[in-house]
Assembly symmetry: C2
Homo-oligomer: 239 residues x 2
DNA sequence: AGAAGGACATGATAAAGGTCATGTTAAAAT
DNA sequence: ATTTTAACATGACCTTTATCATGTCCTTCT
């Protein structure tokens, strides 16, 4: 943990702190802490006290909810510019955990600072509210797929969800499709789908045979995105 | 649709509009419309344009997402004080529908009014942000149950979810438990669970035989709430 | 009153998906 | 360099759950 650098010339264009007044950006700057997490490390764990809000400066984080016999469900994926945690009342604890999927840098602003910032920076608060509202809509869409889709459809959905959040790798584009900008295990994909590792493996193998995807080192190449969408068209999704 | 009454002496204690300045409460009062919906009527339907925000004054509403072959998934249940819809940018449409579960009264405030109110009433905006943030946490919990629980567990969860949102009927309490303050069909419960009518019926019958619930007219009596919770305890939920 | 439709109920059957067993490969640790 | 562990992969099997069929009861419409 180190004292953070300037928020004003922060390279992350998606950070919400930018919407504060310059006076308040300075204020937050001096009160925030900036922490680096190694891949696999927890930003926060279920049961810990909610002491403030996390802003992802640079990284990839999975928000997981561990249920029955260690089977973990990935509730949300987050990347640079996204928020983790929530403003909590005193004594409140996290119902879920947030774990870095790769080395990540996260800024932390404690409750008192953030609460005051909300009241003094309406535009900032509105942006944050819209962020939550948008997340809510996204998760509502995922509810549908978890409850109605077949495993095959869920796996297709998971791939497209990964693309929506993390996008494609800039240097990964060839005439044979685009490379997902994330390194994720079959077990974690299963965690997104609400199924198990074996089913994911089976279905990814199917997709490969059908030339919809290709496996490239530790990453997945989306060869035929539109057909992948086609698998889900009956649900008329909006990712 | 009629011009609405005063917000100041509105009987609904949970309405967020209260957190605006008195000047703005008046402003909203004059710009809002108040609409009554019959049971089964849509407050808004998927595909319609997002023109503003809905505040439930008095009623019970299900937010549904219709997927494959008319099988509808209930994404969220809402009651007096809750919000429906979201602030949308121009041209945006609803991905889901909201349907009255009983005769309900809903206040509508259009986009321009609400956007300005946000910027001028920090406390109002913060409350709304916290509402969304709380909803987000709630739905994250439901994601887990939809993806990991057995049908039996899902049905138990649905009953407790109904209790959380709508509560018990004041006059329904006897020494044999408490009456859920909602009238809901097996099909709709199936929509909460992500299963079908038959499974719900079977499991409710099981619960009845096990003396966990009792059927009373068109409503359900929770006879043994703690055992019902017990069915879910491995998930250590926080409803 | 009688017909019709909707909600509730239960059994039989089939398909989907979870679990277990086993094996291979690749990376990491000693 | 060798052992160990993690990730990937596939087949077989069995449980769970969805679907289909049928029937009853109750409410609502004509």
């Amino acid at each position: 943990m180190k004292k953070a650098g300037s928020c004003i010339d922060c390279f992350n264009p998606g950070c919400f702190i930018k919407y504060c007044s310059s006076k308040w950006i300075k204020e937050i700057e001096t009160h925030k802490t900036e922490v680096s997490y190694k891949k696999g490390q927890a930003v926060f764990a279920a049961g810990e006290f909610v002491n403030g809000l996390f802003f992802i400066k640079d990284g990839q984080v999975k928000v997981v909810s561990s249920g029955l016999n260690d089977k973990e469900q990935i509730v949300r994926l987050a990347t640079s510019g996204h928020i983790l945690g929530h403003r909590g009342s005193n004594g409140e604890t996290y119902p879920i955990s947030a774990v870095a999927m790769k080395d990540s840098v996260v800024c932390f602003v404690k409750n008192e600072t953030i609460s005051e910032a909300f009241l003094k920076n309406p535009e900032f608060t509105v942006k944050l509210m819209l962020f939550y509202s948008k997340e809510l809509r996204g998760i509502e869409a995922r509810i549908k797929y978890l409850s109605q889709m077949t495993v095959r459809e869920k796996v297709a959905f998971a791939l497209l969800y990964l693309k929506t959040i993390f996008g494609y790798q800039a240097q990964g584009t060839t005439n044979k499709g685009q490379l997902l900008n994330v390194q994720i295990s079959r077990t974690d994909i299963a965690g997104i789908c609400g199924t198990n590792e074996e089913q994911v493996i089976r279905n990814l193998s199917d997709f490969e045979q059908e030339k919809l995807i290709a496996k490239e080192g530790k990453k997945i190449r989306i060869v035929n995105e539109s057909t992948l969408y086609g698998i889900l068209k009956v649900y008329n999704l909006q990712l």
